[in-house]
């Protein structure tokens, strides 16, 4: 049973299935982006596959690879009780051409998942009726789960208080300073290093 899905996919799509991977009942197929929706329809409609439930959809950025953004789709068949993971890759070094057919006409449930992938990784889904940010606010610029998004860059909606308007020092009180309290605390990785160097430590 376990390799049935991959075998049928390869029989049907041939070289459009770029890679497959199978371990411990965990099947993965990487398909061409241009055949994305076709593959989805086949997986849903084939009687032996019958994948009627999209579990998850997400985007992963591999900046060292081309195409750069990987879109991962997890499927489950309630009738056949089997799973598959389908991936595809889009986008060049600058993430141009991050476009993919929307699967919303295949599984309506991917609506918000596609919006999340758009929000976090910036993949545009052709044919999605309402493609806007779902977790972040509309004013946000960029896509935070791309590896070139600066890890500590924030985009506040309202300006932070200044000491002039607060009338009191806004330094964090103990134990909330950058290098105390929780060991995984804020700014430890950047400022903490600078602090240690200033103290002459390695």
């Amino acid at each position: 049973m376990s390799d049935l899905v991959l075998r049928k996919l390869k029989d049907r799509f041939g070289s459009a299935v770029l890679e497959t991977h199978s371990m411990c009942g965990d099947e993965t197929a990487i398909v061409e982006a241009s055949r994305w929706k076709e593959v989805a329809l086949f997986l849903r409609d084939d009687a032996e596959l019958a994948f009627n439930m999209p579990i998850d959809l997400c985007g992963v950025d591999y900046p060292e690879r081309l195409p750069r953004i990987e879109v991962v789709l997890h499927l489950y068949s309630l009738a056949r009780r089997h799973r598959v993971r389908v991936k595809t890759r889009v986008g060049d070094e600058e993430c141009n051409g991050c476009e993919l057919d929307s699967l919303i006409s295949v599984w309506p449930g991917v609506d918000w998942l596609e919006r999340e992938v758009f929000d976090m990784s910036g993949v545009r889904f052709r044919g999605h009726p309402d493609l806007r940010r779902i977790l972040l606010y509309p004013e946000f610029e960029g896509h935070p789960l791309r590896k070139d998004y600066p890890a500590q860059k924030t985009q506040p909606l309202i300006p932070y208080r200044t000491e002039a308007e607060a009338g009191v020092p806004l330094e964090k009180l103990a134990p909330f300073g950058p290098d105390e309290g929780m060991s995984f605390g804020r700014e430890v990785w950047t400022n903490g290093k600078a602090r240690r160097e200033n103290r002459g430590e390695q």
Binding site: Y137, Q155, L157, R161, V168, L170, F176, G185, R186
Partner: protein, 199 residues
């Protein structure tokens, strides 16, 4: 900062009247009727629910009545992580509250962002609104929450608007024990050290 320094006593006489300063009387009245506005966003909310329920009983401090309109509330409990998207909402709620008003940062995330050092989290509510009392902990224990409430009451009594942080409590069984290091010295010396004064 941080420790209870003074309590107000109403000087009375047997003939049935009391004299005091007006601000002291107002502070005394206010500190026992803190209507709370819970702004609960994250997992600290579970600990908040436990702490305000009958077992720990904040009604003892007159702070049990939640008001889900900011216009009727006195103290804003910010319980949990504040995301950038919520920041305008939080500031608006604070602005809608009537004077006099106080703010309690409940837990590490509300106080400084905690370990969420990323694009989505406000590094502490004091980036947006003033804060009176910080309660550290992830989440804080109910004792720390009650300490924070009492610290706020003390600040109201004294008219002190400087921010304060709840200090760790001393272990009543081992008064000198503050951490593993102290426990080791405790065992080596074979006697309990006197309670350390917190700096």
């Amino acid at each position: 900062m941080g420790e209870v320094t003074r309590t107000v006593t109403l000087e009375g006489s047997e003939s049935g009247y009391a004299t005091t300063r007006l601000d002291a009387l107002l502070g005394w009245a206010r500190k026992y009727s803190l209507f709370q506005y819970p702004f609960v966003t994250a997992c600290c909310g579970m600990e908040f629910m436990a702490a305000v329920s009958p077992r720990f009983d904040v009604a003892r401090f007159g702070a049990e009545a939640p008001r889900f309109s900011p216009r009727q509330s006195d103290v804003l409990w910010v319980v949990g992580t504040i995301s950038q998207r919520q920041a305008p909402v939080l500031r608006r709620i604070y602005e809608q509250m009537m004077e006099p008003k106080w703010v309690i940062a409940f837990g590490t995330c509300a106080s400084c962002g905690g370990f969420y050092d990323n694009y989505t989290t406000v590094p502490g509510l004091d980036k947006i609104i003033p804060c009176d009392v910080y309660i550290p902990g992830c989440p804080p224990r109910p004792e720390a929450i009650l300490d924070g409430l009492m610290l706020l009451q003390d600040k109201i009594t004294n008219g002190d608007r400087r921010p304060g942080v709840v200090k760790p409590r001393l272990d009543p069984v081992h008064p000198g024990a503050q951490g593993a290091g102290d426990l080791v010295t405790l065992r080596k010396s074979g006697k309990e050290k006197p309670a350390k004064e917190q700096a």
